[in-house]
């Protein structure tokens, strides 16, 4: 890796963008080569945590990201089990972030992929994401902290990779108690072959671990330090997706690029709620110290605080589908709108308590 790492992260972003587009060619839903939120939501459904038949599948990409990060961290001597930094608060923030993601219908990673597929609704998402990050940075500069982490036993840090292996076994064995979307039954039925998805996830996990790729961190570093290293990875993913989608549209019978607001795959056109959904995600990601992709990668490195955030995402996804909070192609739900407003309030309280209350003590 070069000392600044800027070149490496651009290469990594280009590779990840190409992989994301190819996963759609190989069977994943349109504009959803990767979506950490959607894939965790599908996994929650497969485990029976929610009962929405169209979105139930153990996504190997999630398993691959955690195991890829775990393997490269071990190989490079960076596997570092640690935790103890406000785990339940992180769980709550992860929960809120998932509600924001499922209002918008995608995590920050998919937001870029959607834009690369011509979905202009993602622009509203980006606006909300930036506003959320600016709100988070305001609290960071005022003293926000979830306190320090502590070194933990190796067994503690190995739990998430172990759980990932169990999930992989369940996916391959497909016992009766695991739920799978029926063929043509919804997005959960659209997926690349297990081996392809697993390898793609592992490559992304390795690259993201080596480069610290983070959608929220990129914008945070621009605001705080005028450092464009992380955000250059973000831009590279967009460029690679855009070019790949144009090539695939020209070279195949499928439509991988469709410019506009309407008629987009697994997306709605309600700009305000696209913006507010991603506002929650941006705000929450700064409070967590990284976007959902980064939380997965850190959990693979042995960070149990990030594992708690991932569990918050998982449970949040289950709540979204059990209580009608998740949007659909037809738009957001009334319950979802109320939940997003509550999440903004919850995040503001968490940020304030961990900023001003601590400073007063």
């Amino acid at each position: 890796m070069s000392k600044s790492g800027k070149f490496d992260i651009i290469i990594a972003g280009l590779i990840i963008g190409v992989i994301a587009s190819l996963l759609v060619l190989f069977g994943n839903p349109a504009n959803m080569g990767f979506c950490i939120a959607c894939f965790i939501r599908d996994t929650a459904g497969a485990l029976g945590l929610h009962q929405a038949p169209p979105v139930q599948y153990i996504r190997p990409e999630i398993i691959g990201i955690i195991l890829g990060s775990f393997a490269i961290a071990l190989a490079k001597g960076e596997f570092s089990p640690k935790g103890g930094s406000a785990p339940l608060t992180r769980f709550a923030i992860g929960f809120c972030v998932m509600i924001g993601c499922l209002m918008f219908l995608g995590c920050p990673f998919r937001m870029i992929i959607r834009l690369g597929g011509g979905d202009l609704n993602a622009l509203l998402g980006i606006a909300g994401f930036v506003l959320g990050i600016l709100t988070g940075v305001f609290f960071l500069n005022k003293g926000y902290s979830l306190k320090r982490t502590y070194k933990l036993a190796a067994t503690e840090g190995g739990i998430m990779p172990a759980v990932s292996v169990v999930l992989l076994v369940l996916l391959i064995a497909a016992p009766a108690f695991i739920h799978f979307t029926q063929p043509e039954g919804g997005p959960g039925a659209k997926h690349a072959a297990i081996a392809i998805s697993l390898i793609a996830g592992a490559i992304v996990g390795i690259l993201a671990q080596r480069t610290r790729l983070c959608m929220a961190g990129g914008l945070r570093d621009v605001v705080l330090f005028h450092d464009f290293r992380l955000i250059s990875g973000f831009c590279a993913i967009f460029c690679a997706c855009l070019v790949m989608n144009l090539i695939l549209t020209a070279a195949t019978s499928g439509t991988y690029f469709h410019l506009g607001f309407t008629g987009q795959a697994i997306a709605h056109t309600d700009g305000l709620w696209n913006l507010l959904g991603m506002y929650v995600v941006g705000f929450g990601a700064i409070l967590l110290g990284g976007c959902p992709l980064r939380q997965l990668v850190l959990s693979g490195e042995g960070n149990t605080d990030s594992a708690m955030a991932v569990l918050g995402l998982l449970v949040g996804a289950a709540f979204c589908h059990n209580f009608g909070l998740a949007s659909s192609g037809e738009g957001p739900t009334a319950n979802g709108k109320i939940a997003v407003v509550i999440c903004i309030c919850v995040l503001a309280v968490i940020a304030s308590v961990n900023t001003f209350a601590k400073n007063d003590s």
Binding site: M1, K3, G5, A73, E78, S80, K82, S85, L140, N141, K142, G143, Y144, S145, L146, K147, R148, T149, Y150, K151, Q209, T211, R212, C214, G217, D221, L224, F225, D227, R229, L230, G289, G290, R294, E301
Partner: protein, 83 residues
């Protein structure tokens, strides 16, 4: 010799910078170098010629490292307990 100090949180670095500048040190906030850590927090760069940062340890500091003479990578010279 260039020195980098990492912290458990962003504001720890901000506070350290303010206090160091009050003492006349030249310090700079920056993202933590990748070659030092896989964590993506905020660090403070300083010069050990100005002062030894080990004489100003705070609860928010995670580690102090100095740049290798070859210019390739860092060597940790202090680390907080249990970190």
């Amino acid at each position: 010799m260039k020195c980098v100090i990492t912290f458990f949180n962003h504001f720890g670095a901000v506070r350290y910078k303010k206090e160091a500048e009050r003492s006349g040190w030249k310090v700079q906030l920056s993202p933590v170098p990748r070659s030092l850590s896989s964590s993506c927090g905020t660090c403070v760069f300083c010069d050990t010629l100005d002062a030894d940062p080990r004489e100003r340890i705070t609860d928010e500091m995670e580690q102090i490292a100095v740049e290798e003479q070859s210019g390739d990578g860092y060597r940790t010279i202090w680390r907080a307990e249990e970190s």
